[in-house]
């Protein structure tokens, strides 16, 4: 095989299962690619070559012994550094956890192992998943493979950059307000936030517990579905895990549930037009036309409460974060500072947290503490939860009439590194279109829609009703194939090669 890093995950798994290539060869090829490109991209915080090769060898040994292989056996994956995994550090992009080695596996990691997926390493992220650019990491910025001077999105920017740079065909991220979909959009790949509760949060370090959800990154809709199926499913260790069968996402991605002919697609009036870059709007309008030409019944849908998603989100998420991050107190794990024998426990905690947390985390902890404090609770947190109800009602009303909702994923293409670093409100606006479905809890996918301003990727967002994840895969797969026919191949074929003088 010429270049193993160009194969999709499904092709790789098939080749390994057929014995055309070993999992060790596939893993080595991707580790080499990381070596060649990560000085420029900085997608990974931690790589353990031996650990990855050992996982690959286990797959090869299982195959040699005639044991049944999982659907993604031997496929390399980049894991966001917010999931615990024994044998590797978990930092969450924070100095406060620098060097911490968790004593247990997250459920997601356990499922990856069972499926034979090979974890290459842990990827960079905004500290505790708070941000839209990965600039809030304590361990340096990650660069967008399309333009190294630009952000790869966030908070799962290391994972999106790894897939776009062909360091891994698959990656896992988490999405609280758009942290999978926005990075996928700005790096030209597929990213899915499953229905809230579909993927176990056990071993996922909590930011905003009522919103956090793990999900897949991939180069194709089918690959994302295969990983979705491996990750999802009921877990008794997570009380919010959905105790119901995983929707048929793989069948949907293979087109077995049908295409878009006759499907009703709603275009959300509130998530387009003003505030959306011309290049983004143009690609979006083309997708709408394309869907119509494919036989979908496209209608305009108004969801007036979506205008309040951003303020509601930036009260709910910081409130939950202020409570969740109280556990980082320097007592049982992680950094401890100021423990000189004279300082009492409260001072040691305050010094530890001052040294260990970065500015955005501090801002959100204080904002959440304020919103939850006596006298302000009703006006801020209480009111935001009511807005959440209104947003849910808008979605429920829409899904009585349409099968999926459609919008651009982000208002702009990837912005330059540093541009919004100390302007929280400008940064928050990157999530304008992704926040509503986070607050509602339904599944949502970002899919490449073409290149916008400055020849940078634009994403289109598909949203569906709670527990109807197969709908976004069904429409996503049909749209992907129609768009690629128009482009003459995958969008990612146009990403810069990165390796100096490297041949394809």
């Amino acid at each position: 095989m010429s270049d193993l890093t160009r194969l999709d995950a499904s092709e790789t798994a098939a080749s390994v299962a057929a014995g055309q290539v070993t999992a060790r060869e596939v893993t080595s090829a991707h580790l080499d690619r990381v070596n060649q490109t990560d000085e420029q991209v900085h997608a990974f915080l931690h790589i353990d070559r031996n650990l990855a090769l050992a996982a690959a060898d286990a797959v090869d040994a299982a195959r040699a012994a005639g044991e049944p292989l999982g659907p993604l056996a031997g496929v390399p994956l980049a894991l966001k550094d917010v999931f615990t995994m024994r044998g590797a550090p978990t930092t969450c992009g924070s100095k406060i956890l620098d060097g911490w080695r968790p004593p247990y596996d997250s459920t997601v990691v356990e499922r990856l192992r069972q499926a034979g997926v090979v974890v290459l390493g842990k990827t960079n992220m905004d500290e505790f998943a708070m941000g839209s650019s990965t600039e809030n990491s304590a361990f340096g910025v990650t660069h967008n493979p399309w333009d190294l001077q630009r952000i790869p999105g966030g908070s799962s920017g290391g994972s999106s950059a790894a897939v776009a740079a062909r360091q891994a065909p698959l990656a896992i991220g988490t999405d609280t307000g758009g942290s999978i979909r926005q990075p996928a959009a700005v790096t030209g790949i597929v990213g899915v936030k499953p229905t809230y509760g579909a993927v176990s949060r056990y071993g996922l370090v909590a930011f905003s517990s009522s919103l956090d959800q793990g999900g897949p990154f991939a180069r194709t809709v089918l690959d994302a579905a295969l990983l979705h199926e491996v990750m999802a499913g009921h877990d008794p260790k997570d009380a919010t895990s959905i105790d119901a069968p995983v929707p048929p996402v793989v069948a949907a991605a293979r087109g077995e549930l049908g295409g878009v002919d006759g499907l009703k697609v709603g275009v959300v009036s509130q998530l387009q037009g003003e505030g959306y870059e011309p290049g983004v709007q143009a690609r979006f309008d083309e997708v709408v036309e394309l869907l119509t030409s494919m036989g979908a019944d496209v209608v305009e849908v108004s969801c007036p409460s979506f205008d309040y998603a951003l303020p509601a989100y930036y009260l709910i998420a910081p409130s939950e974060c202020s409570s969740n991050l109280a556990r980082f107190d320097g007592m049982r794990y992680g950094l401890r500072a100021g423990d000189d024998g004279a300082n009492g426990v409260e001072q040691v905690m305050a010094i530890t947290r001052a040294e260990g947390f970065g500015p955005e985390v501090k801002r959100r902890i204080m904002l959440g503490t304020y919103a939850l404090s006596a006298g302000y609770y009703d006006a801020y947190y209480g009111q935001a939860q009511k807005v959440r109800t209104l947003i849910r009602r808008d979605f429920e009303a829409a899904y009585r009439d349409v099968d999926v909702l459609l919008s651009p994923t982000t208002p702009t293409v990837a912005f330059p590194i540093g541009e919004r670093a100390d302007d929280p409100i400008a940064m928050y606006k990157a999530d304008l279109a992704t926040l509503p479905s986070s607050l509602y809890g339904g599944p949502a996918m970002s899919l490449p829609a073409g290149l916008g301003d400055e020849d940078l990727p634009v994403g289109v967002q598909l949203m569906a009703a709670v527990q109807r994840d197969e709908q976004v895969y069904r429409v996503g797969a049909a749209l992907e194939s129609a768009l690629q026919e128009r482009w003459g191949g995958p969008l990612l074929d146009r990403v810069p090669e990165l390796v100096q003088g490297g041949a394809a």
Partner: protein
């Protein structure tokens, strides 16, 4: 929305267990005011008759079978501790001098 004074930020920082310098207090104070002004818009909608939503997909009364399972080995748990002593976490004193 009330203006955030330096004292308010100091109070918030104390509740948040964050030690801040004077310069940081001023900087965060300005930024928090801007953010609070932007998010206060939630008051424009959602009247009294709208119930709050706490969770996207509500589940109730989740329990597991009451079976004893082993916990993590002590060594594993203490392996990440910033300070340990006699098989326990060692922590700074929890009472001030005058309280002792």
């Amino acid at each position: 929305m009330p203006a955030l004074h330096r004292d308010d930020i100091a109070h918030l920082a104390r509740l948040s267990r964050l030690q801040l310098t004077d310069a940081e207090r001023d900087h965060y104070g300005e930024q928090l005011e801007v953010i609070l002004a932007a998010v206060a818009r939630v008051a424009e909608v959602a009247a009294d008759d709208v119930p709050p939503t706490t969770h996207a997909v509500p589940v109730v009364n989740v329990t597991r079978p009451d079976v004893v399972v082993p916990c993590l080995p002590r060594g594993d748990v203490l392996s990440g501790a910033p300070a340990a002593e006699d098989d326990r976490f060692r922590v700074p004193r929890i009472l001030d001098e005058e309280e002792q």
